[in-house]
Symmetry: C2
Subunit: 129 residues, 2 copies
DNA sequence: TCCTGTCTTAGACTTATTCTAAATTACATG
DNA sequence: CATGTAATTTAGAATAAGTCTAAGACAGGA
């Protein structure tokens, strides 16, 4: 964890480590406020500004990506490699869909656009099971 | 315009007509606040709440779609048929990409998901010309 | 006219996020 | 060790998008 921060050129601090623990852990797609809540369970003095600053820093340094998929809220994704997203209509929950699960064709027809990245955003219902 | 509202089961009022004129006009992908600003140029007494109510009503009635593509802001799109979006990194401007320009394959592999709709979101730079 | 339901309004409220200015900490160097 | 400087963190104010509320305006029917 500490090593991960250093590898990305991020000066480690206790606060940053606490954020990293939450956001690189098991919890997929937390929002900034969710991260703040979790960080404060272990480290109650951490301020909101620090969490936001740290998340933005992590995004700058390529440790996280930020997705604007949910109305009014950005969510953070520890999967920084390209992939797609499925959003459950009922719960609002967001699931990663592996890059190779879908193929997008026809990009070469978009002459006016220099496409640097893309993702497919799917909406629907997750099947119980 | 009036006919359009009626066809969608929307009781026309001066305020709603003013919003419709802006949002079904030449201006692609305005945000709610942008719509409010434009409406007020012709009709300065219209309240913010009315604009938001009206936009949500239009979305309910299928006259518009709402997209959450830009950080912290929903934008409204008069193109209600399925299509994709290209977002210019530099300007933040959003362009519609016709449905048939791209093909997405591999949906049948997503057994856990009942996909009801999808779109491809592309980011990059629009080529000058 | 009166009732009822629909619309609109101003402004308060909420939520997500950024900003600010001050306090704290961490080093590096003399 | 003392100290200056830069980086970091903090609390809280500020901002922005959007919703809610309560009151008033308006329209159409009995």
């Amino acid at each position: 964890m500490l090593a991960t921060l250093r590898q990305h050129g991020i000066q480690p601090t206790p606060q940053r480590l606490a954020v990293a623990k939450v956001v690189l852990g098991r919890d997929r797609h937390p929002s900034a406020e969710e991260v703040w809540a979790k960080v404060r369970r272990r480290c109650p003095t951490v301020s909101r500004a620090t969490v936001y600053n740290t998340l933005n820093l992590f995004v700058d340094k390529g440790l996280l990506t930020m997705q604007v998929l949910r109305e009014g809220t950005a969510v953070f994704d520890a999967e920084v490699r390209p992939h797609h997203h499925f959003i459950d209509e009922r719960t609002g929950r967001i699931y990663d869909v592996p890059w190779d699960a879908l193929q997008v064709q026809g990009q070469e027809s978009l002459n006016h656009y220099d496409v640097r990245e893309l993702q497919v955003v799917l909406r629907g219902r997750r099947r119980k099971e």
